[in-house]
């Protein structure tokens, strides 16, 4: 069971209190009627879902109830960055590089 830092409650809580709601930073198009069928299908269904560093939406559903975003390494399950809804998406490549460096240092 993961331990997740809620940026609103400012504390770590067990995964039980959270739900993951898939890839982050996919905004609902401002004017859906102007979207082509392909664009709309992409908005509805197409997700990166890759192995590795991934920005996800989480909700502290059994806590403060807030949605927030988190960058997680789906291989090690480590959270690299947690930030509030509305804040910009971090540079994932830079995060990944820093993460790789710090894990290399941690190895004893």
């Amino acid at each position: 069971m993961l331990l997740i830092h809620c940026p609103y409650c400012e504390t770590e809580r067990p995964e039980l209190e959270f739900v993951c709601r898939g890839e982050a930073h996919i905004a609902r198009p401002q004017d859906p009627s102007s979207q082509t069928d392909e664009q709309w299908a992409e908005y509805l269904y197409l997700r990166e879902n890759h192995k590795g560093i991934y920005a996800e939406r989480w909700r502290h559903i059994h806590g403060c109830g807030r949605f927030f975003n988190a960058v997680r390494d789906t291989v090690s399950d480590k959270f690299l960055s947690i930030y509030k809804t509305g804040e910009p998406k971090p540079d994932l490549d830079a995060l990944a590089a820093r993460f790789a460096k710090s894990s290399a240092e941690a190895k004893k």
Binding site: M1, L3, S33, Y43, A106, K108
Partner: protein
């Protein structure tokens, strides 16, 4: 004589507390402090089971949780628990144990024929043999294999014991309480950290419990244990958990422990839980799991009486039991020599020490000589004999070239073996750390650390008592500092004892026998031999993961703690690749088998899942209601009277509700209060319908889609004030709709000034439906004009009911004149009883969910989740009227324009009437255009709802049918095993098509 192999003195058992127990029905004696294994050995009983595949007689091999052979069933209070390791069972008065996997008896087992037929059972046997015919697998092969090969029998009765769960947090969790673990716990605790120390054994101390030759701070190990444990027990920041196995290490230092609370008690208090699951979140973990001895893979190494040297020493020093009268010690490691010396000093005859090494340490040889023990060097055991107990060993001499020649035989009744020590890296491996081969230690040791843990002591290759203690203290201090940032005064102890760990051997012991005929076991529990591993390699399995699965080596309950290294060495030799190139299988949770009861904890029976009840529940129980589960809710299903069956009860309820009046509990419907200046704008975006022009005091049916365009929920929404709406949802959709609304509000439209609050349980809701509905509520309502003109269909108003605040809706899910009375929940029971009395007075009925379903189906009202399945659009249901045509956007609008959603030939909701009015279709049945469709023809639709309508005197059904609306009046078919049922396609409204009754 009772307990013929018990020594006069020695051991940690309580000789004043004699304990009677039974094994396979035979009454035996042991002492308090014994394990079942030590007590059996004290009675000379080595044979304790039959092996899994070949049914070979098997004896006790170890003294710990890694025991592969001594699996027994324990019987208590009419129940039995199978596959318990006798080495972990603490003896108690009246303990009843039986052996497993034997028929008719342990001594004579017909399954042993498998041993003679063993050439027929090579590695991969099941894969090769039971391939054909496929249909034989379920009915013939599997049942026979399962009954012939296997362990104990699963218990058949429900488990009557209680189980507990607790969540715990600490700064430092120490796993294992040998010298390293105790030292780590002490230094972490003295540093001020919150410490949990757990050990799978009944007593703390680990290897020190059977140690007699060393001292710590000048104290005997046993005295030092008492001193240390007493200190720890006196500290507020320490939790001591004996009999507690850390069985799983999960992400972010989440470690699960299984505590055996009452297993060791003769008369456990029924109030105590049998086992407790500890779900521990530790800031730092110290793994002090120790190491276990490695068996020697020589021919016939599995006879009862052949065991680990350290186990023999443990039985001697800890339990005062000698494992035999004439013991052969076969070793490649120094430590077994100490076992020989201890046994010799206790009066056991040592037949010989046979050391594989040509030059074992001279110091050991001279001690042996001084005791008159025969020593054979460069010597291997090449075979054994003895049916139920080893009686003889063949020795072989290993030449410098590696060839082996016969070197005579030795009579013995026990063989103690040691091929060296394997650090226990299971727990570390579970933490996702990767082990690395350490050439110096000749072992796999913790390598990369992934979590906040560190190993201490022999499990990370540190040997020698003083070194182990130092490693433990340092680990505890380091962990405490990492967790709390603090260090404290730490008392170090100094250990002294001989280094006894040099010497190791991996793989098959060289011998001069016919390798194609002899069985040298690698994995005892799964009956895997060296030959099987080599065969697997010959047949193309080159990865250890493949070899493991093909032969099942390492797949026993010890997960290969005993067998992995030997199997790896045999495979590496067969492949002619270095050990490290073959790889090591991953150790996974659980460390030892863990009961289902432990996982379930209190979550069973009435507490398996929350059982949610409405305020009318107890009343409905009194009235004899049958209930159905709707999600976690218990809802009254129907109210049978005078032994009515469901059909009769529902027919009566339906009829009277339409003729007079019915009372229905609608409390479970989800309710959301949507409040704020932008409330109407928000609903405009969330629902298909228009809301801005809805007047205060009016209601509207709302339909909710997802952005794909499919129906996900519906409900009535009332406007309480300009900026306040009372939204209702389906019972099952309440949580999801609330979460979906929050999602859009927080992440898509944070600028909207609107907030939502769940009020599902703020209100109890009574629905009163039928021509007399107004008369039923009128006497109790104040502050609302109930006349048809002032309070027309789809109105909402606030007033009081029996003096308590009330939100009254005039709405209908039956097609009748209807009201829904919403009152604060704690008034619900009073209001319900008041209404029930009034309804009875007027000849009305109480009805449940079944009648509600029939009444709404007669009116063609959909139920989300019954008519819809997540792929249904409003148009599919004939509900385009619910879509606000002028709205620029709402959730689902763009989705509705997707090519597949506007395509021809979509399934549409229609009514079905069977030609025979008595036939009630099956819900879910297929609908076809042909009476006898050819096999493989896709169905044209399916029945979504089907009932007998008492009002109409016939059956009715709703169905989703391809192009259904265009087929009205045509006959289609519902093919059933008994033949096709002709059905006529109709509109969806079966009763009161004009809707006049609503206006009553």
């Amino acid at each position: 004589m009772s307990q013929p192999f018990r020594l006069e003195k020695g051991g940690r058992i309580d000789r004043n507390a004699s304990v009677t127990f039974s094994f396979d029905g035979e009454e035996l004696e042991g002492y308090q402090g014994d394990t079942l294994a030590s007590a059996l050995l004290a009675n000379g009983q080595h044979l304790v089971g039959r092996s899994f595949k070949y049914h070979r007689p098997r004896g006790i091999v170890t003294a710990g949780s890694e025991e592969p052979n001594a699996l027994v069933s324990i019987h208590r209070k009419g129940d039995q628990t199978p596959n318990i390791r006798a080495t972990q069972v603490e003896l108690y008065e009246g303990l009843e144990a039986t052996s497993q996997n034997r028929f008719p008896s342990l001594g004579f087992d017909v399954g042993a024929i498998n041993d003679i037929l063993s050439p027929l059972f090579p590695a991969g046997f099941y894969y090769k043999t039971f391939m054909w015919p496929k249909s034989f697998w379920d009915r013939v092969y599997e049942p026979i294999i399962r009954s012939a090969a296997g362990l104990g029998y699963a218990p058949k009765n429900p488990d009557h014991d209680r189980y507990a769960n607790t969540y715990a947090h600490c700064d430092v969790l120490v796993i294992g309480s040998g010298p390293a673990g105790l030292a780590a716990a002490l230094s972490a605790a003295e540093s001020g950290a919150r410490v949990i120390l757990c050990d799978e054994q009944a007593e703390f101390g680990g290897s020190l419990l059977s140690e007699t030759t060393s001292t710590i701070d000048g104290l005997a190990p046993a005295e030092w244990i008492v001193k240390t444990v007493t200190t720890l027990a006196g500290m507020d920041n320490v939790t001591l958990l004996p009999r507690t196995t850390a069985f799983g290490y999960f992400a972010q230092n989440f470690v699960s422990l299984a505590e055996r609370v009452t297993e060791h008690l003769a008369q456990p208090d029924a109030k105590l839980p049998r086992e407790r699951l500890w779900q521990v979140r530790a800031k730092e973990v110290v793994i002090a799991a120790g190491s276990i001895e490695r068996p020697m893979v020589f021919p016939e190494n599995d006879r009862p009486g052949i065991m680990h040297a350290e186990a023999g020493r443990t039985y001697l020093n800890r339990y005062g039991v000698k494992v035999g009268d004439k013991v052969l010690v076969a070793t490649a490691c120094d430590s077994a020599w100490q076992a020989a010396f201890d046994l010799a000093d206790a009066g056991t005859e040592i037949a010989a020490i046979a050391d594989l090494r040509p030059n074992p340490p001279e110091s050991l040889v001279s001690i042996a000589k001084a005791r008159g023990i025969r020593v054979e060097t460069a010597c291997s055991v090449t075979g054994t004999s003895g049916r139920k107990r080893v009686s003889k060993a063949l020795l072989g001499r290993i030449s410098e070239s590696g060839s082996v020649s016969a070197a005579g035989e030795v009579a013995c009744d026990a063989i103690l073996m040691s091929a060296g020590w394997t650090p226990t890296v299971s727990t570390y491996s579970q933490s996702r750390g990767k082990v690395v081969w350490n050439e110096e230690a000749q072992a796999f040791l913790p390598g990369v650390h992934v979590q906040n843990e560190r190993s201490a002591g022999t499990c990370q290759g540190v040997f020698g008592l003083d070194a182990v203690l130092k490693d433990g203290y340092a680990a505890g201090e380091d962990a405490a500092k990492a967790a709390t940032g603090k260090t404290g005064k730490v008392t170090y102890s100094i250990g002294s004892g001989d280094e006894m760990i040099s010497g190791t051997f991996m793989g098959e012991i060289p011998h001069d026998r016919d390798a194609s005929r002899v069985k040298a076991f690698v994995d005892y529990q799964n009956d895997v031999t060296a030959k099987d591993v080599k065969l697997a390699v010959r047949e193309g399995m080159h990865s250890i993961e493949h070899i493991k699965r093909y032969t099942t080596t390492g797949m026993a309950t010890d997960q290969g703690r005993l067998s992995n290294i030997n199997a790896l060495a045999i495979a590496s030799k067969a492949l002619d690749k270095p050990l490290t190139a073959v790889g090591l299988t991953t150790f996974r949770q659980p460390y030892t088998p863990t009961t289902f009861g432990t996982f379930a904890g209190q979550s069973r029976g009435q507490f398996f899942d929350p059982v949610r009840k409405t305020p009318s529940h107890d009343w409905a129980v009194d009235r004899g209601a049958e209930f159905e589960d709707v999600g976690q809710w218990k809802r009254a299903w129907f109210f049978p009277q005078d032994n009515e069956d469901m059909h009769a009860a529902v027919a009566r309820e339906c009829k009277i509700a339409r003729e007079k009046v019915g009372l229905f509990d609608a409390s479970t419907l989800g309710k959301i209060e949507v409040v704020g200046p932008d409330a109407a704008e928000f609903l405009e975006r969330m629902y298909t319908n228009p809301w801005k022009k809805l007047g205060v005091g009016r209601c509207r049916y709302g339909l909710m889609l997802n952005d794909a365009g499919f129906i996900i929920d519906d409900g009535v929404v009332g406007r309480i004030a300009e900026d306040r709406f009372h939204v209702t949802t389906t019972t099952g959709g309440a949580a999801h709709v609330f979460a979906t609304m929050e999602d859009y509000l927080q992440t898509e439209w944070p600028e909207l000034d609107v907030w939502i609050t769940s009020t599902t349980e703020q209100y109890a809701v009574a629905a009163i439906q039928g021509p007399l509905a107004r008369e039923v509520i009128a006497p109790f309502i104040e502050g609302i004009d109930l006349s048809a003109e002032a309070f027309s269909h789809m109105s909402v108003a606030t007033g009081t009911f029996c003096g308590v605040p009330c939100r009254l809706f005039r709405i209908s899910f039956t097609g009748e004149l209807g009201f829904e009375v919403n009152v604060p929940r704690r008034h619900g029971e009073m209001v319900w009883k008041t209404l029930a009395a009034e309804v009875e007075k007027r000849g009305g009925v109480f009805y449940g969910t079944e009648t509600m379903h029939v009444l709404r189906a007669e009116k063609g009202y959909i139920i989300v989740g019954q008519e819809t399945d997540g792929t249904v659009t409003p148009d599919d249901c004939g509900m385009n009227w619910a879509i606000g045509k002028k709205k620029h956007d709402f959730v689902g609008k763009r989705g509705l324009a997707r090519p597949d959603l506007v395509a021809e030939n979509r399934k549409q909701l229609v009514g079905l009437l069977t030609t025979d009015p008595k036939v009630v279709l099956e819900e879910g049945a297929q609908v076809t255009t042909s009476a006898n469709p050819a096999k493989g023809t896709p169905a044209d639709g399916h029945v979504t709802s089907s009932y007998h309508s008492a009002t109409l005197g016939r059956s009715i059904a709703l169905a989703m049918v391809k192009n259904g609306r265009a087929l009205e009046g045509e006959t289609l078919y519902v093919p059933m095993p008994e033949g096709s049922i002709p059905v006529k396609i109709t509109g969806t409204v079966f009763f009161d098509k004009e809707g006049e009754r609503l206006n009553g």
